[in-house]
C-alpha cells in the first residue's frame, strides 16, 4: 500500500514512553492523515499531542477480559482503518488487531525497523510465537555466557556482590 493511500490511522496512546515521538513520526510519515488515538481514561495528553490527534476514543486495554467487554472496541471495528500502529507488541494487542481488522498493522516499538503484523488472530499470534522463540534463544545465549563467566572465575553472583 502506498503511503498516500493511508488516510485513517489508529494508534494506541497509552502510557508509551515514546508517545510524543510516535505521534510526531506518524504525522511526518503520513502528513494529512486522520489519526484516531486509543487511550485509557487516565492518560493525560499534552496540548501538542492533542493537536496531532484528530479523534480520541477511550478503551480499557489493561486486561484482555475488560478490553473485549468494552463497547468502544466493537464501535471501532465498524470504522475503516488503513493502518493500525501498536506501540507495544504482545498477545493482547495482536488480538485487538485481529478484532479491528485494519488494512495493515505495524508495531512501532522502538526496534530498529517497524514490524509488520498479520491481521488475523492465528497468523498474528503465530508470528508472535516465532519472535518469542527467537527472543528466548537469545536470552539463553546471554544467560549461558553469564554462567560460564561466573564459573570460570569461580565466583557465583550473590546479593552481597563479590568483586570480580
Amino acid at each position: 500500500m502506498m503511503h498516500n493511500n493511508i488516510k485513517n490511522i489508529m494508534l494506541f496512546c497509552d502510557h508509551t514512553p515514546h508517545r510524543k515521538l510516535l505521534l510526531e513520526s506518524v504525522q511526518k510519515k503520513f502528513p494529512g492523515s486522520h489519526i484516531i488515538g486509543i487511550m485509557a481514561s487516565n492518560v493525560n495528553l499534552e496540548r501538542m499531542e492533542i493537536e496531532l490527534i484528530g479523534e480520541t476514543i477511550l478503551l480499557n486495554t489493561s486486561r484482555l477480559f475488560l478490553l473485549f467487554r468494552d463497547k468502544n472496541l466493537w464501535y471501532l471495528r465498524k470504522k475503516h482503518i488503513d493502518l493500525l500502529i501498536l506501540p507495544f507488541d504482545g498477545f493482547r494487542y495482536r488480538m485487538v488487531a485481529a478484532v479491528l481488522k485494519p488494512e495493515k498493522c505495524e508495531a512501532w516499538t522502538g526496534y530498529l525497523q517497524t514490524i509488520s503484523i498479520p491481521t488475523t488472530a492465528l497468523a498474528g499470534n503465530f508470528h508472535l510465537l516465532i519472535s518469542r522463540v527467537n527472543g528466548l534463544m537469545q536470552l539463553l545465549s546471554v544467560f549461558g555466557s553469564c554462567v560460564a563467566t561466573s564459573i570460570k572465575h569461580n565466583i557465583l553472583y550473590n546479593s552481597t556482590g563479590r568483586i570480580y
Binding site: 515514546h18 515521538l21 510516535l22 513520526s25 506518524v26 511526518k28 510519515k29 493525560n44 499534552e46 501538542m48 507488541d89 504482545g90 508495531a107 512501532w108 516499538t109 522502538g110 526496534y111 530498529l112 525497523q113 517497524t114 514490524i115 516465532i130 519472535s131 518469542r132 522463540v133 527467537n134 527472543g135 528466548l136 537469545q138 536470552l139 546471554v142 544467560f143 555466557s145 553469564c146 563467566t149 561466573s150 570460570k152 572465575h153 565466583i155 553472583y157 556482590g161 563479590r162 568483586i163 570480580y164
Partner: protein, 416 residues
C-alpha cells in the same frame, strides 16, 4: 589538522547534552582552523529514529546506515573504516556510542584516536548511568564484570524475550557485550586511546587504571546565546522564582527532592514559586508551575525570568551544562554535590552546594537565598564571571581539546 568525529547516536536538533556538546566541539575546532567531518550512524526506515537535519549543521557530515538484513558488527566497522579512510584524518575522535565503540576503535587502530565519554558508557552496560536504587552504583563493569553482567541481564531479559529488543539492547546482543571477548576488547580500547576526555573527576578516577592521559573537559557555554541578564528588582508582592530546567521527569534529576524541599519551605512562607520543565507528570501544589520542555534556543529567556536556579541531581551528574547556562545568565545556583556540578559551582561564591538527597539542606539554602537579595546578586555576578573566564567554548577548546589533539599526534609520531 584533519579531524574525524564518530558519533553513532548523534541527533540534530539535539536530544540531550551529548549532541550539543559535540556540535560546539566541532564548530569551535573548525573555527580554530581545523578541518572537521562528523560520521554518524543512522537506521534507514525506522520512523522512530531521531533524525539528523544536516542542513542545520555548519560542518560536513557523513551518515553511515547500519541496519540491513546482513548487518553485522564487522560490516558496520568496515563501513566506518571505509568512510574514514576516504577522509584520511590526522586524528579520530570516538564520541558517543555504546557497545560498538570498542569495535569501531579496533577497526581504526592505525589512526591516533581520542576517546570521549559523556556519561558512564564503559562502566554500566545496563543503562550507562551507573545509578541503581536511587544512588550511584558501587560496582562498575571494568572491575566487577560478573556482577554487572547479571544486573544487566536482570534489567534486559523481558525486552530480549520479546524477540524485538530496543536498539540499545539490540546493540548489546549484536556486539555480544556480555562475553569475555568484548570485555577484553573494551579494556584494550581504553588503553589504546592517546587520551580520554571525560566530564568530571569521578569518571577520571574510574578510568585511571586504564589510561594515564585523562582530560576533564565537560563543555562550555556560548555567551552570545546565554547573555547576562541582571536580576530584576522585584516588587514586594512578586514571588521569587526558583527554576529547575533540564529533563525534570528523569528520576536521576532529583525532582522529588526539590518537591520535598518546596513542601518544607511552604510551611513557613508563600513568597516563592518553583518552576520546572516537566509537563508529563501531574503535580498539584500551589507553589509549583510546570512548563513544557524548552528547546535550548528558548531556555535562556527562562533563566532570565528566574531568581534562583536549582539542580538537585541524585545521580553522579556527568557534567551539568544547565548549571553553567544559569550561571552565564547571572543566576545563583543551588546544586547537589554530584559529579560535574561539584566542579562547576563554587560553594558560597557562585552558588550553594548541598549533600545530594538532603531535602532539608536544599530547603535551608533556598530559604537563605530567598531572603538575601544581595547574596543572590553577588552570586549571580560571580557565576557569570566564572563562566567568562573558565567555561566559554574557546577557553575549553584551547585548554583541553587542542592539547589532546597534539598529544595524539605526538604519541603516534613517537610510535612510528
Amino acid at each position: 589538522m584533519r579531524l574525524a568525529f564518530i558519533d553513532h547516536v548523534f541527533t540534530w536538533p539535539p536530544v540531550g547534552g551529548a549532541p550539543l556538546d559535540l556540535y560546539h566541539t566541532i564548530t569551535h575546532l573548525q573555527k580554530m582552523g581545523h578541518q572537521t567531518e562528523l560520521f554518524y550512524g543512522r537506521i534507514p526506515g525506522n520512523p522512530l529514529e531521531q533524525e539528523v537535519n544536516e542542513s542545520l549543521l555548519s560542518f560536513k557530515c557523513t551518515a553511515i546506515p547500519y541496519y540491513e538484513d546482513n548487518y553485522s558488527i564487522k560490516t558496520l566497522a568496515n563501513k566506518y573504516k571505509k568512510a574514514i579512510d576516504a577522509y584520511e584524518p590526522d586524528v579520530v575522535f570516538q564520541c558517543f556510542s555504546f557497545f560498538v565503540k570498542p569495535h569501531l576503535s579496533h577497526a581504526l587502530q592505525e589512526y591516533p584516536q581520542i576517546g570521549r565519554y559523556y556519561a558512564y558508557e564503559p562502566f554500566c552496560p545496563r543503562d550507562y548511568r551507573l545509578f541503581k536504587n536511587g544512588a550511584t552504583c558501587k560496582y562498575n563493569f571494568l572491575n566487577t564484570r560478573n556482577i554487572c553482567n547479571w544486573c544487566t541481564l536482570k534489567s534486559m531479559w523481558r525486552n530480549i524475550l520479546t524477540g524485538f529488543p530496543n536498539p540499545y539492547i539490540h546493540e548489546y546482543l549484536k556486539t555480544r557485550a556480555y562475553s569475555s571477548a568484548y570485555y577484553n576488547l573494551l579494556c584494550s580500547t581504553l588503553e589504546s586511546y592517546s587520551s580520554v576526555i571525560v566530564n568530571n573527576q569521578f569518571t577520571k578516577k574510574l578510568l585511571e587504571n586504564f589510561n594515564s592521559n585523562i582530560i576533564i573537559a565537560g563543555g562550555g557555554v556560548d555567551l552570545k546565546e546565554f547573555e547576562y541578564s541582571p536580576l530584576d528588582s522585584r516588587q514586594p508582592e512578586e514571588k521569587i522564582i526558583v527554576l529547575m530546567t533540564g529533563r525534570a521527569s528523569d528520576p536521576t534529576k532529583g525532582l522529588d527532592i526539590l518537591i520535598k524541599a518546596g513542601k518544607l519551605l511552604s510551611l513557613n512562607r508563600n513568597d516563592f514559586e518553583i518552576w520546572i520543565t516537566d509537563s508529563n507528570t501531574t503535580l498539584n501544589y500551589p507553589w509549583l508551575k510546570q512548563l513544557p520542555w524548552q528547546p535550548s534556543s528558548q531556555v535562556s529567556e527562562l533563566y532570565a525570568k528566574a531568581d534562583i536556579c536549582v539542580f538537585p541531581s541524585i545521580w553522579e551528574e556527568p557534567f551539568g551544562l544547565v548549571a553553567l547556562e544559569a550561571m552565564a545568565v547571572g543566576r545563583p545556583v543551588i546544586a547537589a554535590n554530584s559529579g560535574g556540578l561539584n566542579d562547576i559551582v563554587v560553594h558560597e561564591k557562585t552558588g550553594l552546594l548541598y549533600d545530594r538527597n538532603n531535602d532539608a539542606a536544599l530547603a535551608h539554602h533556598l530559604e537563605f537565598l530567598i531572603e538575601n537579595k544581595e547574596r543572590r546578586i553577588q552570586m549571580g555576578q560571580a557565576g557569570r564571571a566564572r563562566v567568562e573566564t573558565e567555561y566559554t567554548w574557546d577557553i575549553v577548546m584551547e585548554r583541553s581539546y587542542e592539547k589532546a589533539i597534539y598529544e595524539a599526534i605526538r604519541i603516534n609520531h613517537d610510535a612510528q
